[in-house]
């Protein structure tokens, strides 16, 4: 399982090497990124094959057994999102006409850190990878060349994000003070006696603040619309479509392993519902296309959070489906509308000038709303199914979800009506720039492909969700070095493993 290590190390190695190579051979920025991403993708496919053949695996770092050193846990969920991250970055790479050294370095670092975030089984290591991703996002958000606005937005993002991650570190400190360990599976064993109380819940709330900034959760998502309105579409697509999911998957892991009691689930549900309603209302009121897309992204991530808060595999499956669907649709929308007018009322009649992109927009929007044959419908359907089966508060929550879907339909259809309006013609319209066409077509093609093969994909997701909620396997695999002696936490054998 050396591959899982390389998955993280390779992008970092490339990022370190890139400035040096660039100095002597500038064209390296054109192919270094794709080479790293493609090899990562190949490694991830190998891991996928291994995981589906043999089952989950765990690896340790430095040769120190689990609770002492850092472990990686490789399961289908992690590998799935690793593949999504690498494939997504690769698709966005197609769309970059002009490559700038610093941006490429930051994107490579986000890739490596995201892989680590998915695989790591150590609380502080998660924090470190999350910080790399966060700091790289602040840098990327400020990367527009002529935009003081993007600098200002990035600064606000940084202030919010750094404050929240400090509070998240406080949560980690609380957990360490309570338990004395940082390994997730070790914590999972200790959690019922130590973390399922008011103090443990406070630690979870602090961690939720820490990870919630990137996951665009409710009170911490004010940066979303500012950054997406001011940064280049490629960056918005990367942050909204791909990076934000990873933070939410980490929250899911913490919820499953550490906080299996209901109060933590209800906390996440509440946060998700508040975020959903506020985001959809804000999107309805927004007059700027980028902001509409940004708010709708917050709404979709809140839906994902609601799905993850439903206990059991059904909710996890719906959440994964929602996340993957959003990762397909939102980058395509951001790239497609790059050359369009920013203000909604200036979009009037655009469809009669550039038909193809207007139709593509409508198709993507319909999938986002959840119109039956398209994949978006199935993701939302699975969410409703899971919520209905869970009962209790979740059934009440479903009404709010349905209401928000109605609002979402309203504003997306309003934009569609503007696009196809007859009375006034726009002043000018540019077709989507050629550099954006390839990724949009690719993402749209995958969307169509998924539409045709919903049944097998659903089965696959169901299996992944089953394996994800199986925390017993997680604990057994990562703590295999001392699982024979579980009764003595204080005297577990720690030995230097020799190969």
């Amino acid at each position: 399982m050396i591959g899982a290590v390389l998955l993280v190390v390779l992008p970092f190695f490339g990022a370190f090497l890139l400035p040096l190579l660039h100095r002597h051979y500038p064209p390296v920025t054109y192919w270094a990124g794709p080479v790293v991403l493609i090899s990562n993708l190949v490694i991830a496919l190998g891991l996928w094959y291994g995981v589906s053949e043999v089952g989950p695996q765990s690896i340790i770092f430095g040769g120190f057994a689990a609770p002492l050193g850092i472990t990686f846990y490789i399961d289908p969920l992690a590998v799935l999102f690793v593949m999504m991250l690498n494939a997504g970055c690769l698709v966005l790479w197609l769309g970059a006409w002009h490559r700038r050294l610093h941006e490429e370095i930051l994107i490579l670092l986000i890739t490596g850190a995201g892989c680590g975030l998915m695989l790591s089984g150590d609380l502080f290591n998660l924090y470190v990878f999350f910080e790399i991703m966060a700091v790289a996002s602040y840098g990327l958000a400020a990367s527009r060349r002529h935009g003081p606005d993007s600098h200002a937005a990035s600064l606000r993002f940084l202030l919010l994000g750094a404050t929240a991650s400090s509070l998240g570190l406080l949560g980690i400190a609380l957990i360490y003070a309570l338990t004395g360990t940082l390994n997730l599976s070790h914590l999972a064993i200790l959690a019922p006696s130590t973390l399922h109380g008011p103090v443990g819940l406070a630690a979870f709330a602090l961690l939720l603040i820490g990870f919630g900034v990137k996951a665009e959760l409710f009170p911490l998502n004010t940066w979303v619309q500012e950054v997406y309105a001011t940064s280049p579409p490629r960056i918005s697509a990367l942050l909204a479509g791909i990076v934000s999911k990873l933070a939410l998957v980490v929250v899911l892991r913490l919820l499953l392993l550490l906080y299996s009691d209901t109060s933590a689930h209800l906390l996440l549900l509440t946060v998700g519902l508040l975020g959903l309603v506020s985001a959809e209302l804000a999107a309805w009121r927004a007059t700027d296309l980028r902001r509409v897309l940004a708010y709708s992204s917050v709404g979709q991530l809140s839906l994902m959070a609601i799905a993850f808060s439903i206990p059991g595999p059904a909710g996890v499956m719906a959440g994964i489906a929602l996340g993957l669907h959003h990762a397909l649709v939102k980058p395509a929308l951001f790239l497609l509308t790059e050359s369009w007018q920013a203000r909604l009322h200036e979009l009037r009649g655009l469809a009669w000038l550039c038909r193809c992109s207007a139709f593509a927009f409508v198709l993507l929007a319909l999938s986002l709303i959840g119109v039956p044959p398209l994949p978006g419908f199935w993701a939302k359907f699975w969410l409703l199914q899971a919520g209905f089966a869970a009962g209790g508060w979740y059934q009440t929550a479903l009404w709010i979800v349905l209401l928000s879907v109605i609002i979402e339909t309203a504003y997306l259809l309003r934009i569609t009506r503007l696009l196809f309006a007859r009375q006034a013609s726009p002043r000018f319209c540019e077709p989507p720039q050629r550099r954006n066409l390839a990724p949009v077509l690719l993402l749209g093609g995958v969307l169509m492909l998924v539409t045709l093969s919903v049944a097998p994909i659903g089965d696959g997701l169901r299996r992944i969700a089953q394996q994800t909620v199986d925390t017993g396997t997680y604990i057994n695999y990562t703590l295999s070095a001392w699982q024979d002696d579980k009764s003595h936490w204080n005297s577990f054998p720690t030995r230097r493993l020799t190969p």
Binding site: W97, H98, F124, V128, E131, V135, Y138, G139, A142, R144, R145, H146, G147, P148, D149, H151, A152, A153, S154, L155, R156, L158, L159, A162, T163, S166, L167, L169, L170, I172, A173, Y176, A177, G180, L182, E226, A229, T230, P232, P233, D288, R290, E338, S339, Q341, A342, R343, E430, Q433
Partner: protein
């Protein structure tokens, strides 16, 4: 709650940490000046670091460095110290990035007031020239 002999050290450390955290958050919430907010952020980080170190302290323990004098004595927990070393350096990196952004923002707007920045960002879709000018320039390297 505290019956240990050296319990006062815990009390000082934890109260100091909580004081720093609250001061930092107060600065972040109540101030609208960018420099002050960054100062609040560094106070918050210092408080969290102190909290972690206090969590690893043991009454009567010595520093986790093995010499002839300390062999066999009770030592404090080394893990939080390693975490804080990492956290301090992370904090400096973030602070440096924030200060660089502050400089650019000041050069562009001539103000360090957060509300002014918010107003500038809220008015963003004023000109559609921004994306095309970028692409035009980027297309000709």
């Amino acid at each position: 709650m505290l019956v240990e002999e050296a319990a006062w050290l815990y009390v000082f450390a934890y109260l100091g940490a909580i004081g720093l955290i609250l001061l930092g958050l107060y600065g972040l919430v109540m101030s609208r000046h960018l420099i002050r907010m960054l100062l609040g952020l560094s106070l918050l980080e210092a408080g969290v670091n102190l909290f972690l170190i206090a969590a690893g302290y043991r009454p009567g323990g010595v520093a986790p460095i093995l010499t002839e004098a300390t062999r066999g004595l009770l030592m404090v927990d080394p893990i939080p110290q390693a975490l804080v070393l990492t956290a301090i350096v992370i904090g400096v990196g973030v602070q440096a990035l924030a200060l660089a952004l502050v400089i650019k923002v000041y050069q562009a707007y001539g103000t360090l007031d957060m509300d002014a920045l918010t107003a500038h960002i809220a008015a963003v879709p004023v000109a559609r020239s921004a994306p095309t000018s970028v692409s035009a320039e980027e297309a000709s390297p």
